[in-house]
């Protein structure tokens, strides 16, 4: 079961990587990389079960977090050309 899932995930990752390399726009790349990150999280989780040591899930958790952070950072850069500006911020509060 886990073998099948691993193979499926690797195929998925290959396809996603192809999109990331080909583009054509930066958003496509970002989308592909974001999706790739999710697949990596899954791969590591499944791989942990495959080898009978599901203790690596901490790492999968980090990946999930970092993947989100990276995507948001790139998006913000697309929109603002800058990381620190307060443009995402409400003018009230």
């Amino acid at each position: 079961m886990f073998v099948a899932a691993t193979i499926a995930l690797l195929i998925t990752m290959a396809l996603t990587l192809w999109r990331a390399l080909v583009g054509p726009t930066q958003f496509d790349r970002l989308l592909a990389v974001n999706s790739f990150g999710t697949k990596t999280v899954l791969l590591i989780a499944v791989y942990g079960f495959l080898t009978g040591r599901p203790d690596f899930l901490d790492i999968a958790l980090v990946y999930a977090l970092i993947n989100f952070l990276g995507t948001i950072a790139v998006l913000k850069f697309f929109e603002q050309d800058d990381l620190g500006s307060g443009q995402y911020q409400e003018d009230d509060y």
Binding site: T12, V46, P54, L75
Partner: protein, 152 residues
């Protein structure tokens, strides 16, 4: 009996998850434009993760007898459930804002141009609070119109 049931359920979930994930990847490769790709990828990302994660939780609980792993997997699921759609949403919104025009099946643009895409991203029920935003958006649209006229 219970073992068989567990096995069946987790197999079923895993297969469904794999189908989700692979179809998402196919969508990412085959779909004609950004937004359709986004649609395919983001839905299957979340869905696939959810289903495969459930399968893994069942496995962790009943086969590996490792409740800590199940809890961690649950946390991962919860986290992905929040962040993955959010990231997709932000991606779509930023892409529109930056003027990515959606295409139809034949590759024709669905909007007049990047300005309209950008406008689309900003159009929303503006007056849900104080009505300030409505005015500002109107101003901005005005500004955009002027600018568009200048440049063309």
């Amino acid at each position: 009996m219970i073992d068989l049931l567990i096995l069946l359920v987790s197999w079923a979930l895993m297969i469904v998850g794999c189908v989700f994930v692979v179809s998402g990847a196919v969508a990412l490769v085959r779909m004609p434009d950004l937004y359709t790709r986004l649609h395919g990828a983001s839905l299957t990302d979340t869905g696939g993760t959810l289903v495969i994660g459930l399968a893994l939780i069942i496995q962790a609980l009943f086969v590996f007898d490792n409740s800590m792993a199940a809890v961690k997997m649950g946390l991962i699921l919860l986290f992905t459930l929040f962040t993955s759609p959010t990231a997709s949403h932000a991606l779509a919104k930023t892409a529109l804002l930056c003027g990515q025009v959606p295409l139809d099946a034949k590759g024709n643009p669905l909007l007049d141009g990047p300005e309209q895409a950008s406008l689309l991203a900003r159009s929303r029920p503006a007056d849900y609070r104080h009505g300030q935003d409505k005015e500002r958006i109107a101003q901005q649209i005005q500004a955009l119109d002027n600018r568009g006229g200048d440049e063309s």
